[in-house]
């Protein structure tokens, strides 16, 4: 394996991790809004998870950008130029959301506004984030190399974009429902558990349908991708099997509650499902970062920088792991936090 491929693998791993955590984070914001005044504790549970974790998730987002710039500077150049407007909008929404998260913690009066803002942003931000995918497949950028511009009109009138968004949103809500089902179970909140499990049961199949339709409406410029995806079909078959396993786990016997399901297992299987699919998708996308003008080889950083970055990742991970462990113990496991009133 050459350096470029290692770099894209590391980057893709970060993207994958962020897409899972980001889905759970933004999805929780959405559910906290929807169930704000629900008779079960579903809204509270979502919020209890969100309060200490959103900052960490936000750091992951920044990590993505920084890793991208470090590994593929030319890619940052192209995407930075082209995505000025959508990314600025994301930043704008993120800023409002984060600020209100913190403000509401300090001043009770802002709670309602916060739920609303964070819930709406929880839908809009992922929808904007996913526009990167169709753009990277080609057909929406004109004037390569000279001066790149995004064909905003074409992008926002293309059915392909909306199918991507639909796929992104159903996935986000599916993953976050599953996660919150598990979190409710650990917190021993049966009402909330039942609710989130039901959501997951409904959303799971919807994500599959959305994925199929997305592939069908891809614009002609992306034919290269379809061919490549077909070559990677092994991964998609694995992914589908993982889905069946995960979905099945929601029907297993639950030893602690009346409602069926082993949500922890289900969540793991579904994460594997997305893992396989992302890997297949990523492989199919190679070697292009942006089709057809920019490959990982054109965009790659200086070798020396690459190696020092890799060393720093190893060191950083070693330093941070205990911190993450303590964090997990305190907020995702500690009964005193989970089962407070």
């Amino acid at each position: 394996m050459n350096e470029e491929v290692i770099a894209i693998l590391v980057l893709w791993t970060f993207i994958f991790i962020y897409s899972i955590f980001g889905s759970i984070d933004f999805g929780s914001g959405f559910w906290a809004m929807v169930y704000h005044e629900h008779r079960t504790s579903a809204g509270k549970i979502a919020n209890r998870f969100l309060s200490p974790t959103w900052e960490i998730t936000n750091v992951f987002l920044v990590l993505l950008v920084v890793a991208f710039v470090g590994f593929f500077p030319k890619g940052a150049f192209t995407l930075g130029t082209v995505l000025l407007i959508p990314v600025s909008l994301i930043l704008f929404l993120l800023a409002i959301r984060s600020a209100f998260m913190v403000f509401s913690y300090s001043v009770q009066g802002y709670r309602k506004t916060m739920f609303f803002i964070s819930g709406i942003c929880g839908v809009l931000i992922p929808a904007l984030l996913i526009t990167v995918l169709p753009v990277s497949q080609g057909g929406y950028i004109s004037g390569f190399n000279g001066r790149d511009v995004l064909l905003i009109g074409k992008l926002f009138t293309s059915p392909s974009l909306y199918m991507y968004i639909l796929f992104g949103l159903t996935s986000e809500l599916f993953l976050s429902s599953l996660f919150l089902a598990d979190y409710s179970k650990v917190s021993k909140q049966e009402g909330a558990y039942r609710l989130y499990r039901g959501n997951a049961l409904l959303l799971g199949p919807l994500t599959l349908i959305a994925a199929m339709v997305t592939l069908m409406v891809l614009q002609p410029e992306a034919n290269w991708l379809i061919d490549n995806l077909y070559d990677q079909r092994m991964w998609f078959i694995l992914s589908f099997l993982a889905f069946l396993v995960g979905y099945g786990c929601l029907w297993l016997k639950n030893s602690e509650m009346d409602t069926a399901g082993k949500p922890r297992l289900a969540l793991l299987a579904i994460v594997a499902q997305y893992g396989f699919a992302s890997y297949g998708y990523g492989m199919a996308h190679l070697p292009y970062i942006v089709y057809p003008g920019l490959t990982i080889y054109d965009a790659f950083t200086a070798k020396e920088t690459f190696y020092s970055l890799m060393i720093m990742y190893a060191v950083g991970l070693a330093i941070l792991t205990p911190g993450f462990y303590v964090f997990w113990r305190l907020f995702l496991k500690d009964k005193r936090y989970l089962q407070q009133e």
């Binding site: 960490i56 920044v62 995407l79 800023a95 920088t305 950083g316």
Partner: protein, 448 residues
């Protein structure tokens, strides 16, 4: 306005906004650490209350520091793609390490805020120390990138712009890194201390305090003044060192800062006034003979380069003279103010047992905002004084800038955002502390 000017204005505005919260985000955690430690050492609950209240304020400020930082971080790629292309190859290392610092800060901040009641005392202090460490580390690391722009190192560039022979660590430890990183950190500590002092001075001046409250505010005020004095002293020395680095590595910047046109030995220091572009000299300033040469390298016969030494197209804008003067002026003003304030504290409080002079409290209310102004002017000086270069003698600002059009509406949108966040922050802080006055804390406070 053309795109480059717009991009500069846009980015400068975003940074000027971020830096307010970022600086307090570095300065206040130090105060919290000191309060937590004093609480343990002196076994005095007032310090625990201080730590708790400052943490509250800090959490709110962090809630703006993080998104505004995310904005500037991503905007670098959006507005300066040409610059980031080189950054990615040469100096992405500190950016990368900075993220670990962010993780540390964010992790332990959540732990300190949301899990304090479930933690043993010892671990609580460790958490808050790690928060402070993460904050200052992130400041130092981002400064590494900025200093590299001022004194680039660790790579070679061919005629066609290809970058080769990269050494990321040399880029990191570029010639101005140590001095600037130190200056940035101590000025942030100084600003955190004066921000606290401002509030203490305001409370004491306004009066209507119960005995407990008055004792509480006096302790906080005294602590802040001591920390402020120490760090303003260190700041002035470290600023002096930064100026010597300018003399060595960015002579145009120093020349512009001083409004010096002719290269000369026994160069004078020009204080105040402004640089007149027509006559090419400093008007209405006070000149101290020989002083600049002495400051630049410790000898009166040091030769200091003037602007005529360099091609006109590479002169920094003349207004940096004013920016520099204001920063330095604020530094000495606050140093003096803190010294006087502490002297009176001792003289009136311990010796004469007379009330503290009110005019002094009144002046001290301005110490926090002034210190913040120093930070703003210092940064604008550093960034504008580098013009027309983004990377000194490697890449001009025009080459670095984006070619996208439609910046103007986005700029307006973000100005609106900053105004809104700024106003909300003030509202939230005042309404929180109004509803939870210190007196309430005393009531419910019965130790940990």
């Amino acid at each position: 306005m053309d795109t480059v000017v717009l991009a500069r204005a846009f980015f400068g505005t975003s940074l000027a906004f971020h830096i307010i919260f970022a600086t307090l985000g570095v300065g206040i955690p130090l105060m919290i650490v000191i309060a937590e430690i004093l609480h343990q050492v002196k076994n005095d609950n007032d310090y625990a209350i201080m730590a708790k209240r400052w943490t509250k304020a800090f959490a709110v400020l962090l809630g703006v520091a993080i998104p505004s930082g995310t904005i500037v971080g991503v905007q670098l790629s959006l507005l300066w793609p040409g610059f980031m292309e080189i950054v990615g190859k040469v100096i992405s290392l500190p950016f990368q390490i900075e993220l670990f610092a962010f993780f540390i800060e964010a992790l332990f901040m959540s732990i300190y805020v949301y899990a304090a009641d479930r933690l043993p005392k010892f671990f609580r202090i460790i958490s808050v120390i790690l928060v402070a460490f993460g904050a200052v580390a992130s400041a130092i690391l981002i400064t590494a990138v900025n200093t590299w722009m001022n004194t680039p190192d660790g790579f070679k560039i061919a005629k066609d712009g290809t970058i080769f022979d990269v050494n990321p660590w040399d880029a990191f430890f570029n010639p101005s890194f140590i001095s600037s990183a130190f200056h940035v950190s101590v000025t942030a500590y100084m600003t955190g201390a004066f921000a606290v002092a401002s509030i203490g001075a305001y409370k004491l001046l306004r009066g209507k305090l119960s005995k407990n409250e008055s004792v509480y505010h006096k302790k906080g005020f005294l602590l802040a003044m001591i920390v402020g004095l120490v760090f303003s002293l260190v700041s002035s020395f470290s600023g002096h060192h930064s100026a010597q680095i300018l003399h060595e590595h960015s002579p145009e910047k120093l020349a512009a800062a001083e409004g010096l046109f002719e290269t000369q030995r026994y160069a004078p220091l020009a204080i105040g006034g402004f640089t007149d572009p027509k006559t090419e000299e400093v008007k209405y300033g006070i000149e101290i003979p020989w002083m600049l040469s002495w400051l630049a390298a410790g000898k009166f016969d040091t030769k200091v380069k003037g602007l005529y030494e360099f091609p006109r197209e590479t002169w920094p804008p003349f207004y940096v003279h004013t920016l520099f003067n204001v920063m330095v002026g604020i530094g000495f003003l606050l140093l003096g103010l803190a010294a006087v304030a502490l002297f009176f504290w001792w003289y009136y409080g311990k010796r004469k047992k007379r009330p503290y002079p009110r005019w002094l409290l009144f002046l001290l209310i301005f110490s926090g905002p002034l210190s913040m102004l120093g930070i703003e002017f210092g940064w604008i000086f550093s960034c504008s004084g580098r013009q027309p270069w983004t990377i000194y003698r490697v890449q001009t600002t025009a080459e670095a800038a984006t070619q996208s059009q439609n910046l103007a509406p986005l700029f307006l949108l973000f100005i609106g955002l900053y105004v809104m966040l700024g106003v909300l922050t003030i509202l939230i802080l005042t309404s929180y502390f109004k509803r939870n006055p210190v007196s309430k804390e005393f009531e419910k406070y019965s130790g940990y």
